[in-house]
């Protein structure tokens, strides 16, 4: 007895038979495939928002970067330091140094109102005052148009994302900050990171404009190595002069993006889950009617000696194939429609706008296709069992 081989060839022939009959019930098949494609598009599309946001936040972090805030502060916005404190922080052990001094940039972080291009309404755009070391602390920063601002001069450079999302941020145009007007000297990129949503200027210039005296809000440092973090942190937290919170850049940005990614992922899964239930019903409907239309054929095959497990497996295969087609279609659609779709949203921790692009990652596509496969399997299982249980004699009598 050729056992397994025979079993496989039975499955192959029933499946082939099923697939060949698709054109006869194309309405139902198309409805199922599109239904599943819809689920996958929505799932992948919604999750790509969260993935893009998270990516914008995490590419900003370098493993040897750390950020120091006042203890109790959950974002730069609400943190604050005097000059003495930022000096102590910069000279701490673990901070990398060059001939010009420690790689530490004491920074100010405020927001200013600039209209969004898409809606024309005011949005809160982050404006960061930095020290010269900032460019070494964040070494992925590149000027792509214009030039760097001159230190000590009332000039700014604008991140690529901000220039795209908000009106009036081209090289040569001027931004209005209270009673001041600052020309835009250049546009910079930062590997798609969160800095691209910001406007940068000299910290001293910003201190003057905002009457901040000689105070700062955060210190960004580059460490000797990622491993030096603990030493750096311990020396700061054990220093009685300071009352600070020390976090790795990666942790800081993960914390900043948590609220919004949680919101989007929770809602995204919930919506996709509900849609998936709907799609399962659609798939069940299609497969049940497929079975009903083939009652006689299946009974004939069973009478010829085809096994009931072969019938079950081949019907599930058929449903799985349809679902996978839907899944791939949906994933492709989501990729076409959403990948690199530029938008901006509010970072709820600092009320400031973050420009980012939706990211349809391979991982999301795989997830979408796995969902479609599950829908297909569930949608195929019950009809397949019904087909296998058909009483052969009664079904043949229907001839």
């Amino acid at each position: 007895m050729a056992g397994p081989i025979n079993w496989f060839s039975q499955i192959a022939s029933i499946t082939k038979f099923g697939l060949l009959s698709i054109p006869q019930r194309r309405g139902a098949v198309v409805a199922t495939v599109i239904g599943i494609a819809g689920v996958v598009t929505v799932l992948v599309g919604v999750l790509s928002i969260a993935a893009g946001f998270r990516q914008a936040m995490t590419v900003s972090a370098s493993p040897d970067g750390a950020i120091v805030l006042r203890s109790g502060a959950d974002s730069e916005m609400v943190s604050g330091f005097g000059r003495d404190e930022t000096r102590v922080i910069a000279d701490s052990p673990g901070v990398a140094r060059t001939a010009q001094g420690p790689l530490a940039s004491a920074e100010l972080f405020v927001i200013i109102n600039i209209p969004k291009r898409s809606t024309g309404t005011d949005a809160n755009v982050p404006l960061r005052g930095v020290e010269p070391a900032a460019l070494l602390v964040r070494d992925n920063l590149k000027i792509i148009r214009g030039r760097m601002f001159d230190w000590g001069k009332d000039e700014v450079i604008v991140g690529r994302g901000a220039a795209q999302e908000f009106a009036g941020l081209e090289v040569g145009s001027k931004i209005k900050v209270g009673r001041y007007e600052w020309p835009v000297a250049g546009i910079f990129s930062a590997d798609g990171g969160v800095a691209e949503s910001e406007i940068w200027t000299d910290a001293k210039v910003l201190q003057d404009a905002y009457n901040r005296g000689d105070s700062f809000q955060s210190v960004s440092v580059r460490l000797n190595s990622p491993g030096a973090f603990q030493q750096f942190k311990d020396s700061l937290t054990s220093n009685p002069q300071l009352n600070v919170k020390v976090v790795r850049q990666s942790e800081y940005y993960a914390e900043q993006s948590e609220t919004i990614t949680r919101l989007i992922t929770t809602l995204g899964y919930l919506i996709a889950f509900l849609m998936a239930i709907g799609a399962v019903f659609g798939a069940l409907n299609t497969m049940y009617s497929a079975v009903a239309a083939r009652t006689r054929e299946i009974a004939t095959l069973r009478a010829l000696g085809f096994g009931s497990s072969a019938v079950v497996v081949s019907l599930m295969l058929e449903s799985l194939l349809l679902a996978l087609v839907g899944g791939i279609l949906g994933g492709g659609l989501a990729w076409l429609a959403f990948n690199n779709f530029h938008t901006s949203t509010m970072n709820w921790q600092s009320f400031s706008q973050i420009a980012f692009a939706f990211k349809v990652t391979p991982e999301l596509l795989v997830r979408g296709i796995v969902w479609s496969a599950l829908i297909g399997l569930i949608g195929g299982l019950f009809p397949a069992i019904r087909a296998a249980r058909l009483p052969i004699a009664a079904a043949l009598r229907e001839l």
Binding site: I34, D122, G178, R179, L263, L274, N285, M346, F351
Partner: protein, 385 residues
């Protein structure tokens, strides 16, 4: 109505197919309800805005503070009834995930400004008598099981007390309700005098933003202009806009939610349309012969179309009602994101839109099979029996 029995029996004929189709319609309408609530939570605040209220904030950005002395100056501007202020406290209760808003306000003026906040008179009296007193909305009180008389510690991310600590203790003296279900009852409000005295030197005498009640809502634009003119060329210039526009600005800052929600709903309904349409088409195809008989015994074309449409509408309206009811049940259990969407509820308007949509869905999915049935020629149909 006399054909109801016939329609009902037709639906019951393929129980499995009908129930599966019904279930997918139910799911679509559960989603519809759910997305309406999400959209309401994110952008619905605009409807709750008072037409007679203006918001005044620092011109450069909301994070910059305004002097508390502006209040008296605003009160004198023509068209202004009165002004009062609030400040962002940015507090955390136990865990940053437990987000809700807490603002210091001037109790009497605040309650006068916001009639949508319903606080029992004896609790109002207690608030005015207790310096460290705070009132909290019903939702937040239920969420953390706070009762009147509780003392709650809040960590402020912004404001330090003179001893350098960030922990502020408040006595809950009142729990307020909203006038209607769109009122946000998550924030906590406490007294500005306590706050201003206890905060460290930085920011003393400075407040976040002002709310102005104007005498005549139709004069909003003119009054707003006068307010901004009053503070022009001062160190803290202002930007004044109607409360609705202010809230809308926040909603737009989050992104184009309406568009995203519409896109998702579009995808959902398109899918359901296909599924239901397919069911109806199958049903009509199977019944070709019977339809022929009905026509032969004198059913007019209109009646045949009516029968098929009634069947598809019955299916979708049934599914729609069940789905909307289910959505209502799920939504009334509250915000699924624990705190991010304070105004999460099912607006009555969307409930009605949903019901209307279920009828439209029935008509659209039924119309092609119905026309097909209408065009049947009696002789052809009977021959197929």
């Amino acid at each position: 109505m006399k054909f109801f029995h016939l329609i009902w029996c037709n639906l019951k004929r393929k129980k499995l197919r009908t129930s599966l189709t019904l279930l997918s319609i139910v799911v679509a309408f559960v989603l519809f309800g759910f997305l309406s609530a999400i959209q309401q939570a994110l952008v619905g605040g605009v409807e709750m805005a008072g037409a007679d209220r203006l918001i005044v904030r620092h011109k450069v950005s909301i994070i910059q503070l305004l002097p508390v002395s502006y209040e008296a100056r605003m009160d004198r501007i023509a068209g202004v009834d009165f002004a009062t202020h609030q400040t962002w406290f940015g507090g955390i209760y136990q865990d940053p995930k437990n987000f809700f808003m807490q603002n210091p306000v001037e109790p009497e003026k605040f309650l006068q400004m916001h009639p949508e906040i319903i606080l029992p008179p004896e609790q109002e009296k207690a608030w005015l008598a207790t310096r460290t007193g705070a009132i909290v909305g019903r939702r937040t009180a239920n969420r953390f099981h706070w009762k009147i008389g509780d003392q709650v510690p809040i960590q402020s991310t912004i404001w330090t007390r003179p001893d350098g600590s960030h922990t502020w203790e408040f006595d809950i003296v009142g729990i307020y309700d909203g006038k209607d279900k769109g009122t946000d009852t998550t924030p906590m409000f406490f007294r500005y005098d306590y706050f201003d005295e206890a905060r460290q030197a930085w920011g003393k005498g400075q407040v976040g933003w002002y709310t102005i009640r104007i005498k005549d809502p139709s004069q909003a634009a003119e009054v707003a202009k006068r307010v901004d003119a009053e503070f022009e060329n001062s160190p803290a210039e202002t930007k004044t806009e109607p409360e609705g526009a202010f809230i809308q600005g926040w909603a737009k800052a989050i992104g184009n939610i309406v568009l995203i929600v519409a896109a998702i709903l579009g995808a959902v309904f398109f899918t359901i349309l296909l599924v239901t349409g397919n069911t109806m088409a199958q049903a009509v195809r199977e019944r070709t012969g019977e339809l022929g008989v009905l026509k032969a015994i004198g059913f007019t074309n209109g009646r045949i179309v009516g029968l098929v449409l009634a069947e598809s509408c019955l299916l979708t309206v049934l599914g729609g009602t069940l789905g909307l009811g289910l959505a209502w049940l799920v939504i009334s259990r509250g915000d699924p994101t624990s705190g991010l969407l304070p105004m999460f509820f099912f607006p009555t308007r969307d409930l009605l839109i949903g019901l209307g949509l279920s009828v439209v869905l029935g008509l659209v999915t039924g119309i092609f099979p119905a026309l097909q049935a209408m065009r049947l020629r009696v002789a052809d149909a009977l021959r197929r029996m």
